[in-house]
Symmetry: D2
Subunit: 449 residues, 4 copies
Amino acid sequence: MVPRYSRPAMTAIWSPVNRYRIWFEIEALACEAMATFGAIPEEAARIIREKGDVAMAAFSEADLARIDEIEAETRHDVIAFLTWLAEKVGPESRFVHLGMTSSDVLDTCFSVQLVQAADLLLADLDAVLAALKAQALRHKMTVTIGRSHGIHAEPTSFGLKMAGHYAEFARNRARLVEARREIAVCAISGAVGTYAHIDPRVEDFVAEKLGLAAEDVSTQVIPRDRHAAFFCALAVIASGIERLATEVRHLQRSEVREAEEFFHPGQKGSSAMPHKRNPVLSENLTGLARLVRSYAVPALENVALWHERDISHSSVERNIGPDATIGLDFALMRLAGMMEKLVVYPERMMANLESLGGVVHSGEVLLALARAGISREDAYRIVQRNAMATWTKLGEPDGRSFRANLAADPEVAGRIDTDVLDEAMDSARHLAAVDRIYAKVFGADAPDA
Amino acid sequence: MVPRYSRPAMTAIWSPVNRYRIWFEIEALACEAMATFGAIPEEAARIIREKGDVAMAAFSEADLARIDEIEAETRHDVIAFLTWLAEKVGPESRFVHLGMTSSDVLDTCFSVQLVQAADLLLADLDAVLAALKAQALRHKMTVTIGRSHGIHAEPTSFGLKMAGHYAEFARNRARLVEARREIAVCAISGAVGTYAHIDPRVEDFVAEKLGLAAEDVSTQVIPRDRHAAFFCALAVIASGIERLATEVRHLQRSEVREAEEFFHPGQKGSSAMPHKRNPVLSENLTGLARLVRSYAVPALENVALWHERDISHSSVERNIGPDATIGLDFALMRLAGMMEKLVVYPERMMANLESLGGVVHSGEVLLALARAGISREDAYRIVQRNAMATWTKLGEPDGRSFRANLAADPEVAGRIDTDVLDEAMDSARHLAAVDRIYAKVFGADAPDA
Amino acid sequence: MVPRYSRPAMTAIWSPVNRYRIWFEIEALACEAMATFGAIPEEAARIIREKGDVAMAAFSEADLARIDEIEAETRHDVIAFLTWLAEKVGPESRFVHLGMTSSDVLDTCFSVQLVQAADLLLADLDAVLAALKAQALRHKMTVTIGRSHGIHAEPTSFGLKMAGHYAEFARNRARLVEARREIAVCAISGAVGTYAHIDPRVEDFVAEKLGLAAEDVSTQVIPRDRHAAFFCALAVIASGIERLATEVRHLQRSEVREAEEFFHPGQKGSSAMPHKRNPVLSENLTGLARLVRSYAVPALENVALWHERDISHSSVERNIGPDATIGLDFALMRLAGMMEKLVVYPERMMANLESLGGVVHSGEVLLALARAGISREDAYRIVQRNAMATWTKLGEPDGRSFRANLAADPEVAGRIDTDVLDEAMDSARHLAAVDRIYAKVFGADAPDA
Amino acid sequence: MVPRYSRPAMTAIWSPVNRYRIWFEIEALACEAMATFGAIPEEAARIIREKGDVAMAAFSEADLARIDEIEAETRHDVIAFLTWLAEKVGPESRFVHLGMTSSDVLDTCFSVQLVQAADLLLADLDAVLAALKAQALRHKMTVTIGRSHGIHAEPTSFGLKMAGHYAEFARNRARLVEARREIAVCAISGAVGTYAHIDPRVEDFVAEKLGLAAEDVSTQVIPRDRHAAFFCALAVIASGIERLATEVRHLQRSEVREAEEFFHPGQKGSSAMPHKRNPVLSENLTGLARLVRSYAVPALENVALWHERDISHSSVERNIGPDATIGLDFALMRLAGMMEKLVVYPERMMANLESLGGVVHSGEVLLALARAGISREDAYRIVQRNAMATWTKLGEPDGRSFRANLAADPEVAGRIDTDVLDEAMDSARHLAAVDRIYAKVFGADAPDA
C-alpha cells in the first residue's frame, strides 16, 4: 500500500523490526518451554531470553543490514535471523530453534501480525460505529426521501439510513472478531507437522503465552483456509465501506446536495474550476474498497498448497498482508472522520422530498383506495395515472400536485375523503417505527428523538 | 450450472415451483399474522391459506405458463404471481400482500432458498467428513513421505494427511453454519424499510414460522453484506476442495502412484491411449472449485447498492444463487464418493519414501550431531554434504545410502554411534504424536491404530 | 445463464446438437483430408460424409438419448459420440478419428463455438454502436452539464457523452475482433501434440475448411492463454456496458431526470408504489456486467494446466463458455434497445445546468481574471469566494447568481468588463470543438448539427 | 510491491521524481505548443522550459519536501506541483497550465509511465523468450514422456515443451505490444473534455512529442477501458508464467527429478532438513502470478466511472500501477534467469519414460491392431487389458513389460508381427514432426538438432 494510504500504527506491524521481535519472542518462548521439561538447560533459556531481549530492545538499522547480509548468502530469511541472533546470544544459541522448522516461526509470526492488525481494525470499526451512531441519533427524525432505483420511493429518516449502515458495520465487526479467532493460531510442529523432533508441549506453551490457540493439524504450515477466510472478511468490510461511500457520493451530487463531506479551509477542489467541492473522500474510499476486495482472490488461490506445503503463498502474503490491513485501516479511519464531520442539510432533504409534487405518497393512496373497497388492479391504475400526470408536468405552469390531481379525479373523489388524502400525504407515518428499529440496533443506549 | 454438474435435490430448490411455493407461504403467513391482530379478517386469511394451499399443491406447467403470460404484460414477476394467485383465491385476494413490497417476498424467499441450500451443503460436508475420517482411521499408521515444495521432507502417515483435510472441512462446516445463520433473515418492512404500511409484528410472525430472524434494518432489501459473506464462505469451502483434489492428483501421477481414484469397470481413460487411468474426478473438482470461488467476486460487488436499493444484485443472484450452490453440492458429493473409494497403495508409499536413499532423515541426523556437541553450522554443512552425495548418485552403481555415506564420513564417524544413526533412520518417531493429534481432531471417537 | 437472460441464437451455439454437428464436421473433414493422401480409402471418406450428413440432418432427441446412454457406460463423451456415429455410418466408421485424440475434436469444436459466439457479439456491438451514433448525432448540440465527482463542472453536449461511449464501444469491437482471431485456432495433433499417429496435413486441411488457423504448438490441447485473453476481452466489454448503464441510472434519478429508459405501456414499476418508473434495464445491465466480468477470473486460472494438459479447465469452460457469451449477448442487445429508445429531456438538462446560479462557469472566469493580469493564486481565491457565496445561498431570497456576485466584487469589478463576464457565462464555447471531435470519432459520416 | 520483489529500473518509473519530470515535460510542451500559435508569448515558453529543466535536473529531497508541504495545505497534488514550479520559474509561471485541468497532466503522465513500464516488460519478455529458445534448441531431440492428467501419455521431446512455452510467450509479447498501444494515449482537453479553454492543437503537439496518440474522446479523463485492457494483458502474461513455473515444479518433485532449478552454492533449502533442494523460484513465481492476476479485478471495476469522471480509480491505480508492473517485471526476469540456468536430466527423463513397462505405447499398438483389421472396440479392449496387466505388476517379480504381455496375448500374437510390435515401442515416431513444429515457431532460425 502506497504511503499516501498508510497509517503509522498499522505500518509498524509489518515492519522488519516488529517481525524480528515476534520471531525472537517465539524462539525465546520455545526455549523456555523446553527448559520446563528439561529438553534444554534452564540456564540456557534464561540467557537466550536475557541477551535476546537486550538485542531486540537495541535493534537498529545496523542489525537489519547484518541480517540482510547473511540472507544474501544463505538465501533463507529465518536462518539469517538465527545466525544474527547467535552472534548476540553466544554459545547458548545452539539451543535455539531446536527441532523446529522455519514455518513454525514464520506462520506463528504471521498469525501474531494478523491478530495485531485485527485489533487495530476493530478499534477502527468502533470509531466508524461511533460516528454512525452519533449521526443516527442526531438525525433520528430528520425526514428524507427513501430511494429505490435512484427514484424517490417513500419518506424515511436520515437517521434510519445511518442506523442501517451502523447495523452493517456491527455485523462487520462481528465478522472481524470471528476472522481474528480463525487466524489466532500457533503451529510449532516441525517439518511436516508430526512433532518428530519437538515436544507438542512447546506449541501449547508458546500458543498460550502469545494468546493463540494451537493448530489442530498443521503440515509444516498453518492451513491457508484460515487466511482465506480472514481476507474474505476484510473484503466484506471493504464492500460495506463502498456502500456507505456511495451513499455519500449520491447525497453530495449537485442536484441532490443533501449532505456534503467537510470541506477543509484552504482546500482546492479543482485546479481549473474554483467552484468545485467534490466528494473526494468517499470516491477515494470507493477505490480503496476495490483494492481491499481484490486481495481476497489470491488469498483464496493460496489455499490449495501442494502436499504438506509449498511456498507459493508467501509472495502473495508478503504483499496482501500489509496491503489489505493497511488499506483497510486507512479507509476505516478516513470513513470514521468523514462520517463524523459529514455536513447534513435537512432543509434540502425536505425540499427534494417535496419536489415531485407528492407522488412519493402513492403507496399510501393505493392502500387508502383499497381500504375504500376498490380492487387492487383498479386502485393501481388510478394511482399510477395521477402520479404520471403529476410527474410529467412537474414545474410546469399547468402542473398540479399529486394531491390536487387525485382530488380532481372522479374515480377518487367520490371514494375517499379529503382528510384521508391529507393523511396519506403526511410523512409522519413513515417515522412511526423508528423507535422500534433503533431499540433493535442500539439497544437501551438509544435516547429518544 | 450445466446439468452435468447438477444434482436434483439442489436444482429443485431453484425451480420456479419451489420459488412460488415459498412466495405463497410468505404471503399466507403474512395474512395470518395480520388476521391475529385484526388488520384483515380472520376468514380472509383462512380462505387465502386454504385455496392457496390447494393451488400450490396442484401447481402445474399450466400455472407456470399463466404466470409467465401475466409477467410478459406487467413486466413484474411478483405482480404476475399475485395476479395468478388472485385468480385462484378469489375476492379475498385483495387482502394479500397488503402494505408489502415485492422485495419483502423476494428477499425473504431468497433467504429461505439459501437456507435450504445450506442444509443440503451441510449434509454434503458431513459425507465428506465421514469419508475423510474413515480413511484417516484406516491409514492412521500408514507411513508415507511428507513433502514440502514437492520434495521429500520427512515421514508422516497417510492418515494424518486425511486428518488434516478433515480438520479443514470441519472448519468449513462451521463456516457454513455461520454463513447459514447470516442469511437466515426475513424482511417484511415495506418500500424503504419503515413499516409505513405494515405492522412490524407481521415480520416477526413470518420470520418465526419460517425459522428466520427478522432483519434489524432493512431498506426495502436485506443488506447484501449477508449474501456476500455467504458466497465467500462457499468460496473458502471450494478452495478446500481444490486442496484435497490437488493432493489426489499428485498422489496418482505416474511417478508417484500412491493412491488412485476408483476406476470404474468399462471406463475409458482415453480414446487414443487405452493404458490411461486419469484422476479425472479430482481434476474436475479443481475446475469446479475455480467456478464456485469466482462467484464471490460479483457477490461482493453487489453490496454497494444505491440508496435504499437498486436492482443490480438481482441478475447476479439469479445466476450465482443456483450456480454456486448446485456446483458446490455436486463437487462435495463427488468428493465424498471419491475419497470413500480412493484406492491407497501403502507399499508404494513406503517404496517412494525409501527411494531417496534415506536423505529424508537428514533433520534427525542434524539434531543428533547437535546433541553430540557439534555446532548448528557445522552439523548443517556435514549433513547437507552427505545428503547431496547420496542424492546425486541415486540409483547409480557407486551410489550409497545416506546412512552409509554418513557412517563413512570422518566428521560423523567419531562423533555419533551407529545405533544413533540407525535410530535416526527410523520412521517410527514421526508417528509418535499421531494419537495426540487424532484425539484433538476426532475426539473420543478415534480408535487406536 | 438463466433463460431470462438468454437469447435463442446464442443459446443454440451451446446446444448439444450444435456441438455434435461440429464434432462430426471435424471428423468428416479429417477423413476427407486423410483420403486425399491415401491414409484411408476415398470411398470410406465419402461414405462417412454422406451417411454422417444424413444422420446429423436427422438428429433428434432419440440420438441425444442414445449418446447419453453410451456415455453413461463409457464415461467418455467423445467415445460415446463415435460409437453412436459408428452405428449410423457402419463399417467405414473404423476409419473415423484415426490417430486422433479426443481433445483434437473437443478443442477445435470449442474454438468453432467461440468464433460463432464472437460473430454474434460483433453484430450486437454494431447494434449498440448504431444506437449510440444515432443519439450522438441527434443530440450533437444538446447542451448539458458535464460532471466530475458527481458535481457540476462545465457544460458539454449530450451528444458528446454518447460519442465518448461510441468511441469506447468501437474500441471494444476492435478488442473482440482481436479476441476472435486469438481463439480461431484448430488443433489436430494427437495425444501430446506430436502428430505421432496423424499427418499434420490433416490439421491444415481441417483448419482451412473451418476458417481457423492451425495451432503452432498444441500439447493435446490448445493452450488456454488464448481462451483467457478471450474472456478478458468480454470482461472489458462488460465493464463498458456498466459505464454506460451507470450514466443512464444517474440521468434518470429523480433529482436529475435528464433522460429515462423507455417505460413500456402496462409496465408496473413497483407493486407498492404506482408512481415509480425505475431504470431497471440499466440496473440489470450493471448486474450482468458483474457476472460477465467475473468469468475472467477462472478463465485466467485455467491457463496453468499441468504438463501437456489436465482437464480442470473443462468444467470451467462448460459453464463460462455459454454463461459469458449468452450473458453478454443479452446485455448488449438490451443495451442497444435501451439506448435506441432512450427518452432525452433537453429542457431539463438546461434547467439543471442553470440551477447552480452559473458557478459552472468559474473556470472561464478564472482565465478571464488571469488574462486581466491577476495572479493565478489571487484569481483562484476571488473566484472560489464568489462561487461559494453563490452556492451557499442557492434558492434563498438573498441569494445572487454567480455573475451578480462577481459583478459586485470590488476585486473583479475594476478588472474585467461586464461583456467579458457575459461571455464567460455562455455555454457556446464548450461546444466549439464538437465538430472536430465528431470528425475523429465518426469520420466523414457525421452530418453537421 | 514489497522491495523483495522489486527491481530498480521499474521502481524508478513510479518514483515521485519521475512523475514530476513527466508532469513538467507535459506542462513545458503545452506551453511550447501554445507559443507556436501565439496563445502565450514565445519568450515565456522558453523561460519556462529553461528554468524548469534546470529545476528538474537539480530535483532533490528538498524539492519533494516542499511539494509535500504545499500539498498538505492545498490538498491537491497538481496545484502543489504547479506552486512549487512557480517558485522556480518566476512570473512566467502564470502561463503554465493555462486552460488545462489536473487530469490532463495526471492521465497523460500515467500513460507515459505505463508505456515506460511496458517497454521494460517487453525487454523482460525477450529475455524469457531467449532462455526458452535456447533450451528448446538444446533439447530439441531430448526424449521425455508427455503427460496428460499427470499420467504418462506418449513420448515427446523436452525441447517441444520449451517450444510450446516459447509460442505462448511470443503471443504474450504480442498482447503486450497491443496493450502498450492501447495505453499510449494523451489527453489535454480540459475540465470535461470539450477543449473549452485550450486549443486542441496543444494536445496534438504534446502527444506527438511524447510518442502518444491523442485520445478520441476524453471526458476530463482518458477512458479506463484502456487501462483495464492493459492490466488484463498483464494478467494473461502472469498466467503464462504460472504455467511454466508449474511445469518446473512438477519436473523437480522428488519422484520425477527430470529438471531442477539451479541451486546456488551456500544456499540452504531448509533450516531443519539439510537434504532439501526446493523449487522455490518457481513456487515464488506461482504466487507472484496470483498477485499480478488479481490486479485485473479492480482495474475492470475502474471502468464505470460516474459521468465525466470520478476519482475512485485513482487510489486503485496508485497501487496497481506500480504493483502489477514491478511484480511482473521481477517475475519475468526471475523466470528468464531460472529457465536459462535450469538443470535438465535427460537420463532421468528416459528412465521415467521406461518406468511403466512400455504402456505409453498403447496408442500406437491400438492403431497397429486396427490396421490389422481388428475393430476399434476389440482393439481397445485388448490393449487396455494388456496395459493394465503390465501396470498392476510394475516392479513385481512376475511383472512383464507391455510388449511381453502383448506378445503372449493370443488375440494379438496371431494378428500382428513382432517387428510391428517393436516399431510400436519406438519413441522415434513421436519426434518426427518436431522439425516442422520448430519451423513454425522459430522460423528459419531453428538449427537442426
